[in-house]
């Protein structure tokens, strides 16, 4: 698998915390955070909706909620993006619950190939359609983890921050999902 993106350094987190504190005293100072993360959040949501105008609506909702919850935000030693991604995941899930439709999973060929490498045994190359069918059977939380790790190439630290679990928990969960997928493919 390609090397996942590097986790954010402590210095950056510290600098960002000062920005958040400023925004907590005056929401107008939220702008740098909004500018920094808007595109990332937009793409995160778009991959799950495949609809640009729907994504724009949900993105607005995410940042509005972030701003409303900002006074209670406390420093956790993780990037602010984790907080935003968490809200974004919930908003996407909420939307699909309301419209009773299937959530979109956007996959590119190369990351799919990496996932296939993780799962297949030596000499046994699962057909792509089998893999996609297996993904279709996963639970929402499992899909979320696989998406973030393999399709969005996020480091385990970031995934843990977004899901509010420990890094080792994130690794263990991913391992278990892959094991289950392997089993499902081999049945």
């Amino acid at each position: 698998m390609n090397k996942p993106k590097k986790p954010v350094t402590n210095e950056v987190i510290l600098k960002e915390w000062r920005e958040i504190q400023k925004a907590q005293s005056d929401p107008a100072f939220f702008r740098p955070l909004y500018d920094r993360y808007y595109e990332n959040i937009f793409l995160f949501i778009f991959k799950r909706t495949a609809d640009e105008s729907l994504t724009a609506d949900i993105s607005s909702q995410v940042f509005l909620k972030a701003l409303q919850r900002l006074p209670k935000y406390t420093f956790k030693g993780v990037p602010f993006s984790a907080f935003l991604y968490r809200i974004a995941s919930n908003e996407v899930a909420q939307h699909f619950r309301e419209v009773s439709k299937n959530r979109v999973i956007s996959i590119e060929e190369i990351p799919l190939g990496h996932l296939m490498d993780e799962i297949h045994e030596e000499g046994d190359d699962p057909h792509r359609s089998v893999l996609l069918s297996t993904i279709n059977q996963l639970k929402k939380e499992e899909v979320h983890l696989i998406e973030m790790r393999y399709f969005e190439q996020r480091p385990f630290k970031e995934i843990a921050d977004i899901l509010c679990i420990t890094e080792s928990n994130a690794k263990m969960k991913t391992y278990r999902i892959l094991k289950r997928m392997k089993k499902m493919i081999n049945i």
Binding site: N10, E11, I13, L14, W17, P27, A28, F30, R31, Y34, D35, Y38, E39, F42, L43, F46, K47, A50, E52, T55, A56, S59, S60, F63, L64, L67, Q68, T74, F75, G77, K101, N102, R103, V104, I105, S106, I107, E108, E109, L112, L132, S133, I135, N136, Q137, L138, V143, L163, C164, I165, T166, E167, S168, N169, M172
Partner: protein, 579 residues
């Protein structure tokens, strides 16, 4: 056929950054935010009551209590210290990014396990030690979060309260080591099951009087609901090293370190002096041994060389003429293919190049033709014998010269060595004097109850998760001073949390700075005070500045030094506070 739970799209086209940017509207977001903020005056009465009740319990209690119990205010209507701290988070890291981070470990609840921490601590977890919020025993993987605190910088960074209320008397807890132990299962906090306990072994250090007995320590647990430490047990503390005297430590460390550095500097200077000396006493150049013509070898004469050098030419040429006049040049046939026929050829140009002490390269050219020879000057017959006699004479002189130079160098080296020894002896005398002075002062230090650090191992059983502290309570000082705090820029520090460390105690006092702040301190101790300003810069009063006269005790103004740069790491804190 399996049901499709998701709408999977392969390689879907994504909007570009420009297309995404079109959807950005921060001003619209801000407007929406302001218009969506709740306005309490528009809420029905029952919702107002609900709001009042839903504010954090502590803040609400204080809000109501202000109207019922006037003791929460000072006579001048400023909030009391107790009320202030009661309205703040109980464990409140003053600089959150610098709150010490927990280490995490995973165990299987059914198996338990022993965690060996890299600090030397040990955590022994029995089988089935945990239960969830619903009282059910937890199985499977459990994440343990652990961190330790040992000194005032650790306590300060974590914002752990060190005061202890016992029967209405406020004590300060001096720590012999503290831990925080937490556990989670799938991201949910869990607790230690009833009748279970986790054994902790925690190495740390305590400050004890130089010639006194070590005090006894207890185990306290931080009850965050009651907002107080709770006495749990006696600390099974074991001392880990023999009695070090402050002098031994100083003698072991400080003096030898300083002395070693000076010694090293001396040795370096010595080595440099020797090199310099050798350069100033160079060895003579060895005379060249004359070479005899080899029978049967080819040779040429190069008379035109010396004929072409006039007396008025440069010294090198004059030397060359003197040296090689009449010389026969033997052709080193091994190095070049010498064709004797070419010897009769008339050449137009020549070029002579010295290759080394013995050999020369001469190149003859005429038009397209050229001949290159490696030649060496040789002598034969009487010339050779005369040259050999001269050489032997010079060589004898040369050998004597070498001996003389070597002898001179040895004399100089000895002199330099003696100089070094004298300097070292002087240095040793200087340090011996220092040591004797300190030893003489030894009794004075003992009388002043000088504190020394001792290594200990604390042992206790944790029956709950959270903060556990190995402490002893220090009663409040009787002596009280009243002070105001400002800094070099004239900033006032009223209503800010101040921190005080007595360098002879392993604790941090926390107080609320106000007009005429009352402080109960050991005025003779090394007291360090600081504040954290909103930019994470520290305003510090070093012990040497903690000075005032008897008359001033009721009204002291301490001028803090506000640091220029914000604190960004633990190292920064230790450096500026010198802790």
């Amino acid at each position: 056929m399996n049901r499709n739970n998701y709408n999977i799209k392969i390689n879907p086209p994504q909007p570009s950054s420009e297309e995404i940017a079109k959807h950005k509207d921060f001003d619209g977001l801000l407007k929406h935010y302001h218009s969506s903020s709740p306005n309490p005056s528009k809420l029905p009465a029952n919702k107002i009551a609900l709001y009042a009740g839903s504010i954090a319990a502590i803040a609400a209690t204080i809000f109501l209590a202000i109207f019922l119990t006037p003791t929460l205010f000072n006579s001048d209507n400023t909030i009391t210290e107790d009320a202030f701290f009661a309205s703040h988070k109980f464990v409140d890291a003053p600089i959150p990014p610098l709150d010490p981070v927990s280490e995490s470990y995973t165990i299987i609840a059914e198996e338990g396990g022993t965690l060996e921490i890299n600090t030397g601590s040990k955590i022994v977890i029995p089988e089935m030690a945990f239960m969830n919020d619903r009282g059910k025993l937890v199985e499977g993987e459990v994440q343990i979060f652990y961190r330790e605190f040992h000194d005032p910088v650790d306590f300060f960074r974590a914002g752990i309260p060190m005061d202890y209320d016992s029967a209405g008397v406020k004590y300060q807890l001096e720590s012999a080591g503290m831990i925080e132990l937490l556990a989670e299962k799938d991201g949910e906090r869990i607790n230690i099951a009833p009748s279970q306990a986790i054994d902790i072994e925690l190495p740390s250090e305590i400050l004890v009087p130089q010639n006194g007995n070590a005090p006894e320590f207890n185990i306290y647990y931080l009850d965050t609901l009651k907002r107080n430490w709770v006495y749990m047990d006696r600390d099974e503390m074991e001392f880990n090293d023999p009695e070090p005297s402050i002098f031994d430590e100083f003698l072991k460390e400080e003096i030898p370190i300083e002395m070693a550095a000076e010694m090293e500097a001396l040795e370096t200077r010595q080595a440099e002096a020797i090199v310099s000396m050798e350069k100033s006493i160079p060895f003579p150049i060895a005379p060249k041994r004359p070479r005899q013509f080899e029978e049967g070898a080819s040779s040429i004469e190069l008379d035109f060389l010396t004929d072409n050098i006039k007396e008025s030419d440069n010294a090198a040429d004059a030397l060359f003429k003197e040296t090689y006049e009449g010389t026969i040049w033997q052709v080193m046939e091994k190095k070049t293919a010498f064709n004797e026929n070419l010897a009769n050829f008339t050449w137009e140009k020549w070029d002579l190049k010295k290759l080394d002490d013995q050999n020369f390269q001469i190149t003859f050219t005429r038009g397209e033709h050229s001949m290159e020879l490696i030649v060496t000057p040789v002598l034969l017959g009487e010339d050779y014998e005369n040259a050999m006699t001269k050489f032997e004479d010079e060589y004898t002189k040369y050998k004597q010269n070498i001996k003389d130079q070597l002898a001179l160098r040895e004399i100089e080296k000895d002199r330099l060595q003696k100089q070094l020894e004298e300097e070292k002896a002087l240095m040793a005398m200087k340090y011996e004097e220092q040591i004797n002075t300190l030893k003489a002062k030894g009794n004075d230090y003992a009388a002043a109850d000088m504190m020394i650090r001792k290594k200990v191992v604390n042992r206790f059983r944790a029956t709950g998760l959270g903060f556990w502290n190995c402490d002893r309570p220090l009663p409040p000082y009787i002596e009280q001073i009243f002070c105001d705090f400002t800094d070099q820029h004239g900033n006032n520090y009223d209503n800010r949390i101040g921190y005080l460390v007595d360098k002879n105690q392993n604790t941090v006092y926390r107080f609320l700075a106000q007009k005429r702040t009352p402080l109960r301190v050991n005025t003779k101790a090394e007291n360090l005070i600081w504040f954290v300003n909103p930019d994470n810069k520290l305003a510090i009063l070093q012990p040497e500045e903690f000075k005032f006269s008897e008359d001033e005790k009721k009204e002291i103004t301490f001028v803090m030094n506000l640091e220029q740069d914000p604190i960004e790491s633990e190292e920064d804190i230790r450096r500026v506070l010198e802790l």
